[in-house]
Amino acid sequence: MQSTLHHKLSAAFLPTHLDIVNESHRHAMRASDSHFHITLVSNAFMDQTLLARHRAVNKVLADELAGSVHALTLNTMTPDEWAAKGGLVEASPKCKGG
């Protein structure tokens, strides 16, 4: 699954940085391919709202989200925003069972 996500996102966004972490182990009730933390840095996000960026990612991964992928933590940035953050992103929240 992780390589599928990587492949699809790479093809769709030509990212300058792409990091996908499988966090499914933190969610005891879920399958092994259920929770992912994706950091995607791309020029494609230039002049796009956060809503538009997340919509674009959700669209590319629609099949996976309809299947085993239950939740994504998404960090969508342009290269400038990524540099301004010093290449750091916030951790995903702790699972509460739902």
Binding site: N58, L65, L74, P93, C95, K96, G97, G98
Partner: protein, 109 residues
């Protein structure tokens, strides 16, 4: 519009700020819902919530309403703002509080 989507639409349009979440702001049952609710609570404005785990019809149909596949979903003045990551990022940027304060002071449509 189908009755269930109509029902969701009425909830969205009659509340200036509403979060559809798993659990309640007091007892969230999902880390993402919890984080989003905390960000909204931190803004100190009144908001409405819908526990999607308590209404399976809303749970099953909300993703179709604005073509957004995941929970939570946060609507301000009838418009989808996004999910947990977006609300938290807006909060960190300092953009969430003024947005919610403005919505809270506007009468519902």
């Amino acid at each position: 519009m189908e009755p269930i989507l109509q029902q969701i639409d009425e909830i969205v349009k009659s509340n200036p700020i509403v979060i559809f979440m798993k659990g309640t702001p007091q007892f969230p049952q999902c880390g993402y819902s919890s984080r989003a609710a905390e960000a909204i609570k931190a803004c100190g404005v009144e908001f409405a919530y819908v526990n999607v785990l308590a209404d399976m019809e809303i749970f099953n149909n909300l993703p179709r309403y604005q073509d957004w596949p995941t929970f939570p979903q946060i609507y301000v003045n009838g418009e989808l703002i996004g999910g947990s990551d977006i609300v938290v990022e807006l909060h960190q940027r300092g953009d969430l509080k003024p947005m919610l304060e403005k919505a809270a002071s506007t009468p519902a449509a």
